[in-house]
């Protein structure tokens, strides 16, 4: 199926693409034959859903599970901390730290 050249498929089994260059907010890109409007900038190395992914489905990269979807995803959705969680250990990120310390922020 037709797909933007910036989207890299690492394994035929994958349900995500990896971006080989950033996609800017407002751009329309072709993902698996569908025109998708991108709402926020997504950087090099980030992931975009290749097809619809159900809540609880495994997200596959390199043909292997890298965790479970925490909500429904549509083709073109940015796949990251907000919709994918580790099946192994929770991910530490600066964002989650900031959220945990929101009460202390001025």
């Amino acid at each position: 199926m037709n797909t933007d050249v910036r989207l890299l498929l690492l394994s035929p089994d994958d349900n995500i693409f990896v971006l080989r260059a950033a996609v800017e907010a407002g751009e329309t890109i072709v993902v698996s034959g569908q025109q998708i409007q991108i709402s926020t900038r997504i950087g090099l190395g980030h992931k975009i859903a290749r097809n619809a992914i159900g809540k609880g489905d495994k997200v596959l990269k390199y043909g292997a599970s890298i965790g479970s979807a925490t909500c429904e995803m549509s083709p073109g959705d940015h796949v990251h901390l907000q919709n994918l969680k580790s099946d192994y250990t929770p991910t530490y990120s600066l964002e989650s730290e900031r959220d945990a310390h929101t009460g202390e922020r001025t």
């Binding site: 050249v5 890299l8 690492l10 990896v18 971006l19 080989r20 260059a21 950087g43 090099l44 190395g45 980030h46 992931k47 990269k61 390199y62 292997a64 599970s65 890298i66 965790g67 796949v79 990251h80 901390l81 994918l84 969680k85 580790s86 099946d87 192994y88 250990t89 991910t91 530490y92 990120s93 600066l94 964002e95 730290e97």
Partner: protein
Amino acid sequence: MSGLSGYLRNDGRKGIRNHIVVAYLVECAHHVAREIAWPYRDHAHVIGFPGCFPNVYAQKMMERLCTHPNVGAVLLVSLGCESFNRFALEQVVRDSGRPVETLVIQNDGGTLASINKGQTWIEETLVETEKMARVPMDINELVVGTVCGGSDGTSGISGNPAAGRAFDRLVKDGAACIFEETGELIGCEEIMAARAATPELADELRASVTKAAQYYATLGFGSFAAGNAEGGLTTIEEKSMGAYAKSGASEISGLIKPGDVPPRGGLYLMDVVPDGEVRFGFPNITDNAEIVEMMASGAHLTLFVTGRGSVVGSALAPVVKIAANPHMYQRLSDDMDINAGKIINGGSSIDDVGTEIYDLVLSAAAGTKTKSEALGHAEFILTYKSFEPIGPACLPA
């Protein structure tokens, strides 16, 4: 058939280079060793162990390295009062059929006299090593290692998977390929275990990652840095899969520890994390410590995937530098053998670059110098460690 040729050693292995090793047996002999080798540095490489106190692992590593197939002759340089067992090492080298000589600085008249004596020995020995003929060699006699270092977000999507494709082809051709960094395989041990040749080996693979996780926890390592998420990585298993991609997709034939030589072709995981309590600090303090362990297990050359741009090479065995990041490649192209960044900015597939790596492995094995080799890089580092021998399930028949 492969068009390769190598130097046949008495143990049946073949070398793709014919270096003279100048080995210091304690840091106090390092300067003398370096001075001896310097005028002959294209042929004579300096390796050594800096510690004054004995270490079983270091002794074994030095024995394996001095009898590495790429080594044609060995000069040992001892201060005299260190505790390294130079008698055992010299015996091992002599038994391998290689020319060997030991200088003891305290007995040989000090710095200048030792340098002169060592250089005279090298001049004489070069005449012998240059007479050694190459014989036909098959790809299935090659041992190839892989490491990654100076990694960034690109390593896992370009250089590492491409190195994995090259590994798949080499394994198919019957070569022995070694990957490592068990500490970076946390989260993909089940996927890895599913590729094991036997269920017992699968248990050993899982156990090696569990050991690494405990070791790093004791050292106080975090497994996932905030910067990883900025680079697009979401979970620890995703990060590990990026490093794991170097291993390709072949069946895993065995688990070895540094110095264990793969008994036949296939894909092997090297467990580089010491056994027992945390005693000597970091498992491997730099990338070269990993390369040295690959060489001790017989690696003729090593694939090195780098995102930020490491420039190192290695003593004894050529290093093939694979640039994962296209922007870094532009800056450091003189140091990089392969531009895997082409996968990221378009133009090449992972398979294309995998083929390029495979072809370069064969040409380097046939004698063409890699970039780091031509630039004179010959880094080496060996420090204290401690291992238990591998169990019988690690190398299924």
